[in-house]
Symmetry: C2
Subunit: 287 residues, 2 copies
DNA sequence: TATTTGTGATAGGTGAAAGCTATGGTTCCG
DNA sequence: CGGAACCATAGCTTTCACCTATCACAAATA
């Protein structure tokens, strides 16, 4: 049997006053109730805690021992609640950000260092996968915040538009125009491939890679024509250029998180940091 | 509001299974009861701990935080009870021995060093006063074990005879026989004084001291006739001797402790150590 | 010595709260 | 579409912590 916290606080008060009647008065309960509570506690602990006399009560050895520990326990109880609330109201704890690896490359370096400097108690973990997997994991709470492309609506999800991107065909000046390099797992690639087929364009060979960076590199080397988002292609702008008149797929990069986290301070800090990256970008464009 | 330990164990189980129905089954309560218990806990903590879905539940950030601390708290809860019981069954904790300072001088050195070596977790405190004060403090639980002279019977007290002593008159060979040196607070001195008065013996002057050691020293210096217990006088045996035909007051040195401590292991250890001193003495006498 | 005061224990009744069964509503899956 | 899985809600029952009233005892007081 486990002693109840109420009985413990009762006992602590009795240990302070060494007088059941007066302790009862202080605690706002009747003296018989307190007597019974003390008996309950003694029974739960399995040892006598007090010696009763007509001039009050005194602690037995077991009672003294219990008093010490009870004080600690009740204290850590408050800390328990405070800790749980703190995770709502303080910027601290462990949070997971998810995004596509290519998004990670252009995004994370722009806010993570400053964020971790500003909030030493904040522990950030990363997960990388396809946008739709990331979105699933946000919905199922495996990931706290996601930066994804073209997310589907979901009742539990808060979606925040960050920026646009364009996926299209890129090539180096001396590229082999009969080879296509792309990531076939991306919906964007599939869509563009369909459009190209309809337009009658055909490629003798295809090179697949799940890494947009690899695709960009191969494209820059002149291996073929690459399907790439502008944000990735920009990193190799000196070597490759858009293929004119090629079809374009418009991407929306969005920040997503579960609605119930809207008031969690740490999540708010993460979101603010991520959005800050793109607000800086808009201002540059405007200028 | 303080959450009950039961609700905490419920929450931990739910956090393990992430399924309210199955957790309820394991806990041996109904699923609605568990649902309500979780709502209670969330209300007590002041933050949502779980997000409910049709495929089970998941922990919020506050929930994760609470889970960690709840595990620790529940653990220390068991230790709470165990600790209180341990003070009954293990030789550890803080205990106070009380005795007259002169008793302390001949007694403590003979068992304390070995006792503290044998039981490193035992913390011994000392208090010195007149025997009747010590006895009072044992009864009122300020002192755990007392070594006192001629204790009065008391329903709560266990009294254990240790040895006898004789209080009588002592003098150095060249002593001033018209001066009496004694501690007037001691009943023994008062009793002997009465007897001396009845017998027509009178002293021109009296020197009072509350320290038997001081009295013994002054007596040894030849200042006068001292009233001393044999055990104290023995320390100065080379210099002083009993006054022949003087009245004698018989002392009984006794070990006392409260009856409810009879089964406390630490008290038993203290008692055994103290009694061991005198059993060794008896054997010496017999030999 | 008798009485009052102070203390904790006991007895019986009451009400809030925690438990149960039954049911509702939602989502998922075949 | 029907059933299964899941959590929430409603209504009833039971438990138990609490209260009032009283007892028993010892100490203080008159």
């Amino acid at each position: 049997m486990v002693p109840s916290p109420a009985d413990l606080t009762y006992f602590v008060e009795v240990a302070n006053t060494l007088n059941v009647s007066r302790a009862a008065e202080r605690l706002g309960i009747s003296q018989p109730s307190l007597s019974l509570a003390l008996q309950r506690l003694e029974h739960a602990v399995g040892a006598p805690l007090l010696t009763r006399s007509k001039r009050g009560v005194a602690l037995t050895q077991a009672g003294k021992q219990l008093l010490q520990q009870a004080r600690l326990l009740l204290q850590s109880w408050d800390e328990l609640r405070a800790g749980a609330l703190a995770s709502m109201n303080e910027i601290q704890g462990s949070y997971t950000i998810g995004c596509h690896p290519s998004v990670a490359l252009y995004l994370l370096g722009r806010f993570l260092p400053q964020l971790m400097r500003d909030h030493p108690k904040l522990d950030v973990r990363l997960r990388h996968d396809l946008s739709r997997k990331i979105a699933e994991d946000v919905i199922s709470m495996k990931i706290d915040v996601g930066v994804v492309v073209n997310p589907v609506q979901h009742p539990d999800l808060v979606i925040h538009r960050l920026c646009e991107d364009e996926v299209t065909l890129w090539a180096a000046p001396a590229a082999n125009r009969s080879v296509l390099i792309c990531d076939p797992d991306l919906l964007q690639s599939q869509s563009l491939l369909k459009k190209l087929k309809k337009a009658g364009m055909d490629f003798s060979r295809t090179i697949n890679s799940s890494s947009l960076e690899v695709i960009a590199d191969l494209t820059a080397q002149g291996c073929g024509i690459g399907i790439l988002p502008a944000r990735v292609a920009d990193r190799a702008l000196k070597k490759i250029a858009r293929v004119p008149k090629a079809p374009v797929f418009f991407d929306e990069h969005c920040l997503i998180y579960r609605a119930e986290n809207k008031n969690v301070k740490s999540i708010q800090a993460l979101n603010a940091a991520i959005r800050g990256v793109f607000e800086g970008e808009k201002q540059k464009k405007a200028a």
